[in-house]
Structure formats: C-alpha cells, structure tokens
Symmetry: C3
Subunit: 174 residues, 3 copies
C-alpha cells in the first residue's frame, strides 16, 4: 500500500514546515482542507495556533483532529488538496491519551491510501539531539521516528526542511 | 532586500561549520575579515575561542562583536571577504542582554545588504531534538530557528553541514 | 590515509540507520560480518539488541566489541562485507571506561584503512538540539561530532538518513 499523492514534510522546530506545506497546497486550485492536530492547552500553544490561523486566508476549510485523525481524514473531500499539521502533535496526543497507537496508525495509513488529491503531512524530526534522560521523552522520540519512517516509506515525496528551505529526500511524484 | 553575496552555513554542534566557513573565505584573495561573537565567560568557551584563533593564520583581521554586530559589520571593509562566527551565539547575547531583537536583526540585515564581497555567516541548527523542558531554552530555540529562516530567505547560498561535509540547500551564486 | 571502501551512515535516533546499513551490506554476496558495540546493560538496550538480531538472518557472522573495536575489526575477514553498528555507542563505552580515546580512534582508523571489502559504519548525529545542561553530555556530543567529522573525511561515502531514506552527503565510490 503506497500513497503516491502524499508528501511528508519533515523538519525541526521553527524550520518553516507549516509555511512551506501551506505553499505546496495553495499552489493548487482551491478549496483546500486543513486538519489541525494541536490542542490549545496552554498560552504558548494558543498563540502558535492563532499565528497559523492568521496566515491561512480564504479558500481553506479547517478541521480539528487532536485524536480521531483517520476519521476526520475520511470525511474530508478526497479530491481536494489537504494538509495535516502536524503528525507529531497527533502522536503525542495518542500517547498521552493511552490509545492503541498501532490501530490508529493503521487507520491513518488506510485513509491516506484512499486520497485522490495532493496530501501534505507535516511532522517533526526530534531524534538528532542527545538521548533524553526522561524515559517518556525517549519513548516519544522512538515512536515519532518510527512513524516518520513508516510514512516516508509509503509517501510519494519526502522533504527535509532546513531554515525554511526544502531538501528533497525522495521524489516519485515527478 | 536580498543578499546574493551572503552564504548561510548551518549545522549542529561539532559539525565542522567554522572550519568549512574559513575555507570558503580563504579560497578568495586576502585580506579576510573575521567577526567573532563569542564572549570568553567560562573556561570551555575560552578554550574553544583559542582553538579557533590558532587555526586562523596571517591574512585575517579580527573583530569582536558579542552584541553590536551590525555596527561592526558596517565598519568592516565592504570589498573584502568576511566571516561572522556565529550568529547563534550573537542571538544568545542579545536575548541575555534583553536588547531589542527585532531592531538588532533589522540593522544586521541592512548591513548585510550593503556588502560587496563574499560574506559567510555561521549559525547553529538547534531545533532537531526533543522539545526542551525549560521555557527559556524553548524561546531561544524558536528565535534561533526564525533568525535562520529569515537570513536563509535572503542569502544567495545556504549550506547544511553534516560531519564536516557541505550539503547544498540553496544556491543562487552559481 | 583514506578509506575508499568505507561508508559512514549518519542519522538521528530511529532514522532507520541499522536497517539501511544492513541492506547495503546484504546487497553484496554473503558471508557478511557484523560487529555490535552495544552492551545489554538494561532492558531497553536488551530489547533493542534482540530486535536487531532477529532481523539479521543466515549469512551473518557476528562479533561483539563494546570496547576493543580495532582488534575485532583486524580479526574479521578483510575480504568480506562488514557492518559496525554503532560507533557512537562504542565512543560512549570508551568515554565511560576512561580509555585513551585518541589511541582507540587511531587504531580504528588503521584497521579501517586495511579493509579490502565494503565496510559500513553506523553512527549517530547528536548535535542538532539545544546545548545540553550536563557537562558530560556536552563532552560526549563534542567527541561524537569530532569522531564523525574525522571518519567522514576519510570515508569514500557519507550518507545522512532521514526517516529511513538516504541523503547522499559525499560519494567517491561511484
């Protein structure tokens, strides 16, 4: 099961992932679908969500899916360009909610395989620092890396962002 | 306002940024200008500064600009190759000194746009690990990432260093 | 002293380094040699070692070298493809064991230069996060970065892994 229309956009914190992902989607004709996975549980997160919203103008239809991502994705218009921002926050919500991660990922992959238009997934690369002392952080780091590998293997395109600039890791969409 | 003569050299700790940056500058005819932003406030930093100095031989003229970077840059010879090492330490000095970051960055950009010779900027990529627990570290990580994005957008060339080897992210100097 | 047959495979945690390294080695004719540097001192590490072992099928001959890596490498068949997984764990063992790091690295380089078949070295990139607060972690990060630079300079090929996908950093084997 591959997902040729899927682009996985990886990068560190403040590497310009969201902005570049939006530019990929809006390069196509509207309407565009946006699925946000963030939950505004503190002021830092609220401010970030508002900044992202302010950047998205008319033409976007937005959904919030902090957990039920596969279901939301299946209800979204399959023939319109779509952006999920971001998978790593969603993973964090799944782990904190103690949900069945494998079932959630399998459902997400199934929904992605049904997409019939460009689908951009934003995810964080979190494994390039020193091993965290905290066991939960280590587990999160492991699961985030495995999720990225799993989706990268199926995606038609994988991009690594450096300072707002895309580096092409894999491209079968050309 | 773009800075076609500017090369932004990004990389992690001990990725060989300084050495490679020096090689880019010294590939051109001397004299070369070096602007250091480090302050020798502890022994670790003193040792690092000395090691960097020992590597730079005749042909270099050095300035220290832990904070007033734009002013130092404007006083440096505009027609000679120049290296700033590094922007991330400078950012840290600005944040710790509680100076007006936006004004400082705007002045730096203005000085960079006036350069008429090769200008290499070294900066750290610090956003590829787990989210820091410390709020100040998170803010520093955010500001460092935004500064890198902002300069990368204007630079003629962006290079990502991996184990002493350059990966070209953007090149409009060719 | 260069090591044209050596491939240095760098990447973060859970970036698919081991799996890709194994695929490079097993693309050649067996038998293959595997040198593990991990010590199973806790359950997390034991589980990881077992998962790696389960993946390697017939055709592999395995050695364990948590410290005496150069000696083990010299005893391994020089004409057969070989994988060392991983150098960063070995570095950690050398530092924790308070052994002479420079002598160990020099012996490793000498053994690598004698190799007459494909030799894949796996290593972690750990320098792309925030500066660690812990001085020992900073030293480990420095030494890991320097070791990677030193081996990258001599290797015929350097690859940076992102989500299980290879990005070519240097290639003199083509």
């Amino acid at each position: 099961m591959s997902c040729p229309l899927v682009t996985l956009l990886l990068g560190g914190a403040r590497s310009g992932k969201s902005r570049y992902a939006e530019s990929l989607v809006t390069a196509e004709a509207p309407p565009w679908t946006y699925i946000a996975t963030a939950e505004p549980f503190d002021n830092e997160m609220k401010a970030r969500i508002e900044a992202h919203k302010a950047r998205r103008t008319a033409g976007w239809r937005s959904f919030e899916a902090p957990r039920g991502l596969a279901q939301t994705l299946q209800r979204a218009p399959s023939l319109q360009p779509l952006l999920i921002d971001c998978l790593t926050l969603w993973l964090s919500n799944i782990l904190l909610g103690d949900l069945d991660l494998e079932a959630q990922i399998a459902a997400l992959e199934e929904a992605l395989a049904k997409r019939q238009a460009s689908t951009v997934l934003v995810a964080n690369e979190v494994g390039l620092g020193i091993v965290p002392e905290n066991a939960l952080a280590r587990r999160f780091r492991d699961e985030a890396g495995w999720l990225n590998q799993r989706l990268a293997a199926k995606a038609g395109r994988v991009i690594f962002m450096v300072a707002g600039m895309p580096m092409i890791v894999k491209d079968r969409q050309q």
